[in-house]
Structure formats: structure tokens, C-alpha cells
């Protein structure tokens, strides 16, 4: 199984809602990532979990709250989002994390989020 599965595929939420994005991989990868991608832009890193511990937080606003319950699961909890947070949210995993000399990312198909 070489897939990263993300749910839901689409999400529409109001600015007062609380929702969660879910990501799952069963490749035994020890690093998992959240990226945000706006239309016609490259993916921008938000968070990195390495061995289930948060290792990188790219100064993301606290209305985004990541969680890594175990090595296969990654959640992104959303609360009080703004319309400018509308974007494609991509989850990714990689075997080890840490050094990028020989590491490759496996991306999920993403959640298209619209904040009204």
C-alpha cells in the first residue's frame, strides 16, 4: 500500500465552525506533513511530525491545530478560520524525515477547503 489517504476530499465551513481533516498512511513512514496550497502556487509547509512529535511549525496561526495520534494518522483541527484560509490542504509522508538528502514525499490527494 503506497497511498496516503485524506478525508474529506471537499469541505465547506463557516468562520465559526470547528472541523477536522484526516490523513492516514500505512507505509510505515515515520514523518508526516501538512502543506497548504493556494491555486497556481507551490505547496507551503505548515507542520512536520517526526516519530509522532511535532518537529516543525511554520508559524501557523493557532486556528490550525495539528495532532498525530499515532505513526499512521495525522489530523488537522480547524477552528474559527478566515476566508483567506480557503485552499487545498495536502498531507504527505516520508520514510524517515530529518535529512532531505535522500527522502521523498508521498502526497495525499488533498482536501479542498472553502471558508465562507
Amino acid at each position: 500500500d503506497t497511498e496516503v489517504t485524506q478525508t474529506p476530499k471537499h469541505l465547506v465551513m463557516g468562520m465559526t465552525n470547528k472541523k477536522s481533516l484526516k490523513c492516514e498512511q500505512h507505509m510505515g513512514h515515520r514523518a508526516m506533513y501538512w502543506y497548504k496550497q493556494k491555486a497556481k502556487k507551490p505547496p507551503e509547509l505548515m507542520f512536520v511530525y517526526s516519530y509522532e512529535k511535532l518537529s516543525i511549525n511554520e508559524s501557523v496561526p493557532s486556528r490550525f491545530s495539528p495532532e498525530c495520534p499515532n505513526s499512521s494518522l495525522l489530523n488537522l483541527h480547524l477552528h474559527a478560520l478566515q476566508p483567506e484560509d480557503s485552499a487545498l490542504y495536502l498531507c504527505a509522508s516520508s520514510p524517515m524525515g530529518g535529512s532531505w538528502t535522500n527522502e521523498k514525499l508521498f502526497f495525499g490527494s488533498g482536501t479542498q477547503l472553502s471558508v465562507l
Binding site: K40, P43, L45, V48, N102, F107
Partner: protein, 112 residues
């Protein structure tokens, strides 16, 4: 520091060749290439490591010149399936952590 890609967009006819460039103002130890088709997730193509090696994926190959701090992706005899946006990524160390930073992308359109 984000790597710089050129050109921003390329339009080809099927069978034509294209080159996409990626450069950095900082020393590079590796360059990563990904392709993203419209509405899909980015897909890993290859990693180029220090040493000027070339790698290939189908009829797509790449070179890496660490002295010039640049990499080039070569698409030979392009196929319709090559259409998409190509991103190069380079490792950036910040605050003791290393992360992969993508360039702005090159949109490739292959027409029949």
C-alpha cells in the same frame, strides 16, 4: 530561500522537447523534482544528489550542477501525459530543522 524556476510556463506539441531550470542562491546538496497534474496531488519524479549525476524517469531526465547551484529537468519527446506543473524542491535549514522548499513551479502543456 525559495529556489527559482524558469520558465514559468511552456507549451509544446507532442513529441517536442523541453527544459525546465531550477536555481538557488544557496549551496545545494540535493534537488527534488515533483509533477502535479491539475486537481491531483504532487508526485515524486526524482532526487538529484551532489556529484553532478543524472537521473531518469520515463523519458524525463535531470542534471544537477552543485557548483552552479542549479538543476535542469529534460523532457524528451514529450507525451500528452507530461502535462502538469513541475516543481523543484531544495532543502533549507532553519532553526535547526531542515525542510523542503518548493519553487513556484513551471506549467507544462503538451498539445496533440
Amino acid at each position: 530561500q525559495q529556489p527559482v524556476q524558469s520558465p514559468q510556463a511552456v507549451i509544446l506539441r507532442e513529441g517536442e522537447d523541453a527544459v525546465i531550470n531550477c536555481s538557488s542562491s544557496k549551496a545545494l546538496y540535493s534537488v527534488h523534482w515533483y509533477r502535479q497534474k491539475h486537481g491531483e496531488a504532487p508526485v515524486f519524479l526524482m532526487i538529484l544528489l551532489k556529484g553532478g549525476e543524472q537521473k531518469g524517469h520515463e523519458k524525463i531526465s535531470a542534471s544537477f550542477n552543485e557548483k552552479k547551484q542549479q538543476s535542469s529537468l529534460y523532457l524528451t519527446a514529450s507525451q500528452l501525459s507530461y502535462s502538469g506543473t513541475y516543481f523543484c524542491g531544495t532543502a533549507l535549514t532553519q532553526g535547526g530543522s531542515e525542510k523542503l522548499v518548493f519553487g513556484k513551479g513551471t506549467k507544462l502543456t503538451v498539445n496533440p
